[in-house]
């Protein structure tokens, strides 16, 4: 799982935790050796993330203009390669947020995703991330992505997986620009990051 390794490189080689790193590395080798177990872990992680996406709808308030009608759907979109499989559809099945029925949309191009309310930007969009962020600028779309990569700073919420637990990073400035109000409750368990500068 190169993604996870990359994500934890910095702190792990800081010297103080070398022993712990070795054990983790051993664990990773064992995980990678058993492909089925890795598949299970991955799907479990994205099941959680699908629920999280849905939960964002509860802690973030969209401007009224984001909904053409009181019953127009609340769209959770996935841009690029979908890592959720069926998990996202299962999570939103039959649910509604404040009268708006939940709907899942998958987009190839960012231009199509402008009307979505929550947009997960898949890692496959890494090459054009800045374009994507720019395209959605000033749109009331809550952008979410995995990890914490250079250039992805413009994305509003980052899932950061650590110790097999998912942590949230929120770019509060970006949400404000987009006209979204994030509940302070959401900020409690999340880590607030600056819009510019090193991660």
């Amino acid at each position: 799982m190169p993604l996870l390794i990359a994500a934890r490189r910095g702190p792990w080689f800081s010297g103080a935790r070398r022993g712990r790193c070795l054990r983790l590395g051993l664990l990773l080798v064992m995980v990678l050796a058993t492909g089925r177990a890795a598949d299970y872990d991955t799907s479990r992680e994205y099941q959680l993330k699908a629920v999280f996406l849905y939960n964002f709808g509860r802690f973030v308030t969209w401007p009224p203009a984001a909904f053409p009608a009181p019953t127009s759907p609340f769209i959770i979109g996935v841009l690029g390669q979908d890592p959720f499989g069926a998990a996202l559809d299962q999570a939103v099945q039959g649910e509604a947020i404040e009268g708006h029925p939940l709907a899942v949309q998958r987009y190839r191009r960012v231009a199509d995703a402008r009307d979505s309310h929550i947009l997960f930007i898949s890692a496959s969009e890494a090459g054009r991330i800045e374009e994507v962020v720019a395209a959605l600028a000033a749109r009331p779309v809550l952008t979410v992505c995995d990890g914490d990569r250079p250039g992805w700073r413009g994305v509003m919420i980052h899932f950061r997986t650590e110790n097999r637990r998912i942590h949230l990073q929120i770019n509060l400035a970006a949400t404000k620009v987009a006209g979204l109000t994030v509940s302070s409750k959401l900020l409690r368990p999340a880590e607030i990051v600056a819009a510019e500068g090193p991660p």
Partner: protein, 655 residues
């Protein structure tokens, strides 16, 4: 002690303390209950609020499954030391986070059981739903001990005890101060009443404390005491006065009694006063001297015990004669003069001294003719008897002669007494005899009178003044003797004749008598008053005789009155007989001699004042006595006399 019998002070205190105690217990109880409920309520409210806040803060932690955050949120409960356990369950009912961090699984329920709250014995449990908007995220379990409540109750209990103790103490002190207002006047009253009752001291007063009802009661009580005191003082003063008066009167009586006593004792005569049963009441000094006795030795003793017969003289009969005389006096209510008695006296050395006495015994009667005392009066005639004997002896052989004379004289007196006794025995015979003698005397007397008349006619003008006066005197004496014989005959007849009892109208008889008296009352102004009288049973001719004597006396003794008044009346009853009386306003008599009035030949007036034989009233007494009645008289010199007699009335005959 029941409340009823308590002293009023303790009663008041008990009532006040009881009321204040009950009030403070009820008040404290009410506050306690109110506070208990309110505090439970506020505890629950606060705890529920705390749960809601924790639940609200833990929504994101649950939504994004952040255990650290959830634990951190729960750790805020550390501020409340009473929270013993807390648990956050996710929406599937799985335990997600706990407080305190190291809490054992067993301390929390495995699954949340609904929502809401409940108290158990020592804990309050609140289950709060955790939701974001309408999406349920899980359940918060909060458990608190009830130490806050217990602590508060302990504090509260202490305060209640303190408040009650203080209020009880204050109530006690206040009631001690205030009960005096009520109890003190009542106690003062009670003390006063007790003092009055115990010491009879009506001068004490109950102190007055105020103008309330107790003040009025005190005033009324004091006023009552004042009145009682005044009455008491008045009573005592009057008793004192009366006692002083009585003492004074008593002293006066004593003084007069002593005076009379000494007067009596110093009388020159020899007097002895006896009770009707012959006990010695007193004696005059002269009597004591004559009988060689001392007063203190004889007072109260029997007469014959003090003066027995001389045992050395076998012929002594002084005791017997004196006793007989005294009994006669008692029976006849009249004086009895005894013959000279030889009655020896005993000298103090026990020897006897020969003495001769001349005793007179008299009754002393009260107004109702009851015998009070017997008066024994004697004269010591020893010297007289001896001198006579000496004279008779002619001086020679004097002593022998004297003794002979004494013996003779004594013998004579003995013979006289024997004759007396014979005379008494022959009394009835004598009665008849005297009647016939009197009757027989009348014939020669009539001859005397007849021949005096004839002689008067024969010698008319031939006699000198002296001879005529002699003849006159003989005639008067003969006439007087005739009257005496007539009266004696009448008197004797009254004793002998048989009573022929019929119903007699006294008024009619009195009318006849008045007519018969008309001749002797010519020229006199006499007012006759005959009252309506009841008819009586009796002998009409005898009663006419009695009335004739009484009315005749009244006419005779009122002769010197300018306006004579003679009254026949009836006044009361005695022993079933009516009391009648004849009253006049004539010469009257001295009551000292009342007992002599009805005796034969007893006269209180000289014959040259009022003529008479002295038999009329004796006849009246005999007639009335024979009818079963009695007679007596009342009078006063110069103020008239009243003669009473009693007779048996005819039954059912109104006057």
């Amino acid at each position: 002690m029941t409340l009823q019998d308590m002293p009023i002070r303790r009663k008041l205190m008990t009532i006040i303390l009881l009321i204040s105690g009950v009030v403070s217990v009820l008040t404290c109880g009410a506050f306690f209950a109110y506070d208990f409920l309110t505090f439970r309520e506020s505890l629950l409210a606060g705890f529920t609020l705390r749960g809601r806040m924790i639940a609200a803060n833990s929504t994101a932690a649950l939504a994004f499954e952040n255990v650290d955050d959830a634990t951190e949120v729960l750790s805020a409960l550390a501020a409340d030391p009473h929270v013993t356990a807390a648990g956050l369950y996710d929406r599937h009912g799985r335990l997600f986070a706990r407080y305190p961090a190291g809490l054992a699984d067993a301390a929390l329920p495995p699954r949340p059981n609904g929502t809401g709250f409940h108290f158990d014995r020592s804990h309050l449990v609140v289950l709060t739903p955790v939701a974001q908007g309408d999406q349920p995220l899980g359940t918060l379990y909060l458990e608190s001990d009830l130490q806050a409540i217990n602590e508060r109750f302990a504090r509260y209990g202490l305060i209640v005890v303190l408040v009650m103790a203080v209020s009880f103490a204050v109530a006690y002190l206040l009631s001690r101060l205030l009960e005096k207002q009520v109890s003190q006047p009542i106690r003062a009253l009670a003390d006063t009443a007790r003092a009055v009752a115990a010491r009879r001291d009506y001068s004490v007063r109950a102190p007055r404390h105020g103008a309330d009802e107790l003040g009025l009661l005190t005033d009324a009580f004091n006023q009552m005491l004042e009145e009682i005191q005044a009455l008491h003082a008045d009573l005592e003063r009057r008793v004192g006065e009366r006692t002083a008066e009585l003492a004074e009167a008593n002293k006066e009586l004593q003084r007069r009694r002593a005076e009379l006593q000494s007067l009596f004792e110093s009388l020159p005569g020899l007097y002895l006063i006896l009770t009707p049963d012959h006990r010695i009441v007193t004696a005059s000094d002269a009597y004591l001297q004559a009988t060689l006795t001392r007063r203190e030795d004889i007072i109260g003793r029997g007469l014959f015990e003090v003066f027995p017969d001389n045992p050395g003289d076998p012929a002594a009969d002084g005791v017997r004669n004196l006793r007989a005389s005294l009994e006669r006096v008692a029976a006849q209510r009249a004086s009895d003069t005894m013959a000279i008695q030889k009655y020896d006296v005993r000298r103090p050395d026990g020897t006897w001294e020969e003495r001769f006495w001349s005793p007179v015994n008299s009754p002393l009667l009260d107004a109702d003719q009851r015998l009070l005392y017997l008066i024994h009066r004697v004269e010591d005639v020893t010297e007289f008897v001896r001198r006579k004997a000496r004279d008779a002896a002619g001086g020679e052989n004097l002593r022998v002669r004297l003794e002979q004379m004494e013996a003779e004289s004594f013998r004579n007196s003995q013979q006289v007494q024997a004759a007396n006794r014979q005379l008494e025995a022959a009394n009835a015979e004598l009665e008849a005899f005297s009647y016939s003698v009197s009757h027989d005397l009348r014939a020669p007397l009539r001859h005397v009178q007849g021949y005096i008349q004839m002689l008067n006619r024969e010698v008319q003008g031939q006699l000198g003044d002296k001879a005529r006066r002699y003849l006159q005197t003989i005639g008067d004496a003969a006439r007087e003797m005739g009257m005496l014989i007539d009266d004696l005959l009448a008197f004797s007849r009254m004793g002998r004749t048989e009573l022929r009892e019929t119903e007699v109208d006294l008024v009619r008889l009195a009318g006849e008598v008045r007519s018969a008296l008309a001749e002797s009352t010519t020229g006199r102004e006499i007012t006759w008053r005959f009252a309506a009288l009841p008819r009586v049973r009796g002998d009409a001719s005898m009663l006419r005789q009695a009335l004739a004597n009484l009315l005749g006396n009244a006419v005779k003794y009122s002769r010197n009155c300018a306006a004579a008044e003679i009254e026949l009346g009836c006044d009361g009853e005695e022993d079933g007989r009516r009391v009648f009386f004849v009253r006049d306003n004539g010469a009257g008599f001295d009551m000292r001699y009342a007992h002599k009035l009805f005796g034969v030949f007893q006269r209180l007036h000289r014959a040259d004042q009022f003529e008479g034989t002295g038999i009329g009233l004796a006849i009246v007494r005999r007639i009335v006595t024979r009818h079963g009645g009695r007679t007596w008289a009342e009078g006063q010199p110069g103020a008239g006399a009243t003669f009473y007699f009693t007779l048996t009335p005819v039954p059912n005959d109104a006057p």
